[in-house]
Structures are given as structure tokens and as C-alpha cells.
Amino acid sequence: MKFLISLHINPAVLDALTDEEKAAIGDGHAAFIEALKRSGEMITTQALVDPSQAAVVSVRNGQPVVTDGPFLEAKEYLGGFYLIDCENKERAIELAAQIPDTAIEGLGVEVRQVMFADGQLEA
């Protein structure tokens, strides 16, 4: 079963972390990625730039209108995701719990099953 583990970050929370804490999160992700690859459960993972770098695109009267910044007025934004293939939902949750973000207040980790997929799997 395929699951998307999405990582919701709060930029203010991230900024408030010490360098050691940031490094620990980075190391945690590196170890998690290694373990996922070894177990054969990794499909892909992607991290997104800070939401302040986002652009919102809309087309009005056939003309594209582009504005800076994230679409949602929120405290937490999608920071990246893991796409995994594992045995069942319990296992997906067990894996998600190994992500360092889960230990930090203000960073959210969400697990949802994939319903449809298309396109190249090999990134």
C-alpha cells in the first residue's frame, strides 16, 4: 500500500531551533531515508523550499495573475513529503513516528493513503 507522509512545517518554529537541533533533524531524516531504502519501502522523498518562495497562480479572463507567497493563510505549510510503499496503515504510522519532526511541537506529520498515481516512478 502506498502512503504519502507529508511534513507540515511552521517556519517560525523552525527559525527558533538552535543549529544543533536543526542538525539533529537533518541527521534524523538522513537515517530515516537510509532505513527506508534498505527495507525497500521508499518510493521517493522531496523537500520544498520555504513557503515565502511560493507563487500563487490564477487565471482571470484568460490572463494569468501571479502573486507572491503561499496560497493558504496558515501557520503550518507543506515542507516536503515521503512517498512510501509498505505493508499497511499501521506500518505507515510506525514509520512516520520515526521522523524527527514528530518530536517537535509545531511541526506536523500527516499520513494518507495514495488513491491514484501516474507518471514516472523513477525520479
Binding site: K2, K37, R38, S39, G40, E41, M42, I43, T44, D85, C86, E87, Q113, V114, M115, F116, A117, L121, E122
Partner: protein
């Protein structure tokens, strides 16, 4: 593989035999498996161009043995001891009919996860390449390669010997084997996502492997039952979806399009297995499938028999899904209210809470009682709860049907 189907079929049949013989002789499953995969690849290139050799099995044995010995020789500098015995071996064709089964038992080693057992079985016994298995399960090849290589390491670490386990352990392992074959079949049968073609291949592969097990253990009722269940289910394959990919429920399927040959074989197998001393879940499920296949029209279905079979199944292998299915049969014999009453016993079950099957069956039965508002609500919730797009479309179409009964034909009015 790009070889013609006949060669592909032949290779799939020979792969486990060659691998089994090789592992029996040399041990070290991992090295043998790689060598056989290379031999199979060589055959897919050479045979279509140069013709199939007179003794294809011997050919594969020879090529695989050479690859294995080459491999061992190159390890020689590091591990002299192993190569001495290996290079003594002259490749020959060893007749040994039991090896495929031993191999299957090895691939379904209990230390592996179901996903790994499935992948390894398809590769070692099914003769599929890693790329083919990855495609069938819609994951990157790297993911599948990691899973297979990990599985092989685990088997090595477990230090299992290449032989059939005895007694209770053998019985236990056979259940795992059957479960893995069942999972492979289901993966191929569920038309939820991905390329239809590859999925149908998986179902066929599961049937082929189950036939192989059945040929070696014809007396085992559950093996027979599982094979029958697969054949009876596969016989309905073409009628389960419309050309657009929409689901067609059992009672609306065109029964004249069911594959009679598969059904006849399946029913025959069910009869044989039910005459035996044991009675297991696969046999009962096959008997239920046979009861459906026996009815010329949906109306003629012997629901009393279906219900009785589910009742036995519920007793020997209690499972909320079985109770759910029994509720459908009960509703057919005693009316939708009786079905709904049985469903309500499942509400407290954690495994069923919010499950789309429970929601959709309840919706269906509510529809039958004439409670269209309740049916609508439950169809909608069921549609939101499923991860299958085909099922979601089906449930949403049901929802709109109960919401606007006038827009559809008079059929609904008759039902109500």
C-alpha cells in the same frame, strides 16, 4: 521480458525447477537466484532468435551453473574454500519434481514480511524479473530491488536449510504459502489502479503457481480450495468492469460472459475438496463462489446455501468481513432488516469502524428497506472511505441513484 508468450511460459515453468536443483546442490540461495535470473535473461535473448534448445531445462541448468561457478571463482581470492567444491561440479540435469515446492516454502519464510514474501516468490518461483514485479506493484525498480535483496539476506541470516519442514511446521508454512499466493491473486484481481494488463498477469501467475502446488499436494483440501476459488473468481474477470472501467456488481454481471471452462474446473475442484476430511476457509470461499457460478441468473442464486456456508466460515475462521458477507446473504433470505440487524453487531468492531465495505453494505440494505435518505448518506460516506477510484465512482453513482429515483428507469421503483 520480450520473448514470445510460449517461451515466456516455458521459462516461468522451468525457472523454479532449475533454481530448486541449483540451490539443493550448492546451498546459498542468493547466489543461485542471481545466476538463474541471468540464465533466464540469456534465454529470453537467445531462444527467440536461435530457437528453443532440445532440452531447455538442461540448457538453463548449464548456463546458470556456469554463471554461479564464475561467480564463485571470482570470489576465489577471498574465499578459496568454497570454490574448490563448486568447480568440481559438472552441470547435469537432475530430475527432482519436488524442488519447486521447497523453493516456494523458502520464499515464504516466516521471518519475511508479506510484501517481501510476495516479491521473492514472484521472482524466484515465478521467474519474473525485478522490473516486472516492480511494474506490477507500481513501485520503482529500486524499491523492489531493495525489498528482494533484503529478503534474500534475511533468509540467509535465518540459516534455513533447503528442505521441506516437517509436520506442524510444514502445515503452518503451507498456510503462509497459500496466503501469499492469495495476495498475489488479489493484487491482480483488484482493478483499483494501475495498468490493467500487468495486474491480469499477476492473477494468471498466482493461478499458475497454485496449480503447481496443487499438482504436488493434490490431497490437500485447502490447496484445492484455493485453486478453485481463484478459477471461479477469475472466470468472472471480464464482466466485473465495463469498458470504461466502472464496477459491475455481481447481480448485474452478464453471466453468459463468464468463462465456463474455468467455472467447470473450479466447481469440480470444489466438489473434490469438500469430499475430503478437512474443511478450511479457502474451500468454503470456493464453495460460495461455486454457488454463485452455479446460478444462471442472479435471482436463481441459492442464498440459503450461501448463508449456510458463511455461517460455517464464520465459525471456523471468525472475521468481521465474513460476518459482513453473511449479512448480505441473510438479507437475501430473510429480508434487509435481518441483514441490517446483523450488521449492527459489527459497529463496535475496531477493524470495521468507518470501513467502506460496512458503509456500502449498510447503504445497500437501507436502500432496500426504502430508506433512501439513509442509503444516500451511507453511500456518500462509503465513497469517501475507499481508496479505490473504481469503487468510489460506483458508490457515488449509487448515491445519486437513490437521491433522484425519478431520473432513472422504473427498475428502482420496482425494487422499493
Amino acid at each position: 521480458m520480450t520473448a514470445p508468450p510460449a517461451i515466456e511460459d516455458l521459462l516461468r515453468e522451468l525457472t523454479p525447477q532449475v533454481l530448486g536443483a541449483l540451490v539443493r546442490r550448492h546451498g546459498q540461495f542468493e547466489g543461485c537466484e542471481d545466476a538463474v535470473q541471468e540464465a533466464v535473461l540469456a534465454a529470453t535473448v537467445q531462444w527467440p532468435a536461435e530457437g528453443v534448445p532440445d532440452n531447455p531445462r538442461g540448457w538453463l541448468m548449464t548456463v546458470a551453473s556456469r554463471r554461479l561457478i564464475d561467480q564463485m571463482r571470482s570470489d576465489h581470492a577471498r574465499r578459496e574454500r568454497e570454490s574448490v567444491t563448486a568447480t568440481d561440479v559438472v552441470p547435469e540435469d537432475v530430475p527432482d519434481t519436488d524442488d519447486s515446492l521447497v523453493l516456494l516454502f523458502l520464499c515464504c519464510h516466516p521471518t519475511l514480511t508479506a510484501a517481501s514474501q510476495t516479491a521473492l516468490t514472484l521472482r524466484a518461483v515465478g521467474g519474473l524479473t525485478t522490473a516486472e514485479i516492480a511494474r506490477a506493484f507500481l513501485v520503482p525498480e529500486a524499491t523492489m530491488a531493495a525489498r528482494i535483496s533484503r529478503a534474500k539476506q534475511r533468509i540467509k541470516a535465518a540459516g534455513s536449510s533447503f528442505s521441506l519442514p516437517d509436520g506442524a511446521e510444514r502445515e503452518e508454512r503451507l498456510r503462509v504459502v497459500l496466503h501469499v499466493l492469495y495476495l498475489i491473486f488479489n493484487e491482480g484481481y483488484t482493478a483499483s489502479s494501475g495498468s490493467e494488463l500487468h495486474r491480469a498477469d499477476l492473477a494468471r501467475e498466482a493461478i499458475r503457481l497454485t496449480r503447481m502446488v496443487h499438482a504436488q499436494l493434490p490431497e490437500d483440501g485447502e490447496v484445492t480450495g484455493l485453486l478453485a476459488l481463484m478459477l471461479l473468481t477469475h472466470a468472472r474477470r471480464e464482466t466485473r468492469t465495463t469498458e470504461a472501467g466502472d464496477l459491475v456488481p455481481l447481480d448485474e454481471q452478464d453471466r453468459t460472459e463468464w468463462d465456463r471452462v474455468l467455472i467447470d474446473e473450479g466447481i469440480e475442484l470444489v466438489k473434490t475438496s469438500l469430499a475430503g476430511p478437512e474443511l478450511g476457509p479457502y474451500q468454503l470461499q470456493a464453495a460460495i463462489a461455486a454457488t454463485h457460478a452455479d446460478a444462471a441468473t442472479a435471482e436463481e442464486t441459492n442464498w440459503a446455501q450461501v448463508h449456510a456456508l458463511y455461517l460455517i466460515l464464520e465459525r471456523i475462521a471468525p472475521n468481521p468481513m465474513v460476518t459482513l458477507n453473511r449479512a448480505i446473504a441473510l438479507a437475501e433470505t430473510e429480508g434487509p432488516l435481518a441483514g441490517l440487524a446483523l450488521l449492527s453487531t459489527l459497529d463496535g468492531d475496531e477493524r470495521m469502524a468507518g470501513h467502506h465495505r460496512l458503509l456500502s453494505v449498510r447503504a445497500h440494505l437501507l436502500e432496500k428497506t426504502g430508506d433512501t435518505a439513509g442509503a444516500y448518506e451511507h453511500y456518500r460516506r462509503a465513497a469517501k472511505s475507499t481508496a479505490s477510484i473504481a469503487e468510489q465512482r460506483y458508490l457515488e453513482s449509487r448515491a445519486s441513484r437513490v437521491r433522484e429515483p425519478r431520473s432513472s428507469s422504473g427498475k428502482l421503483a420496482e425494487d422499493a
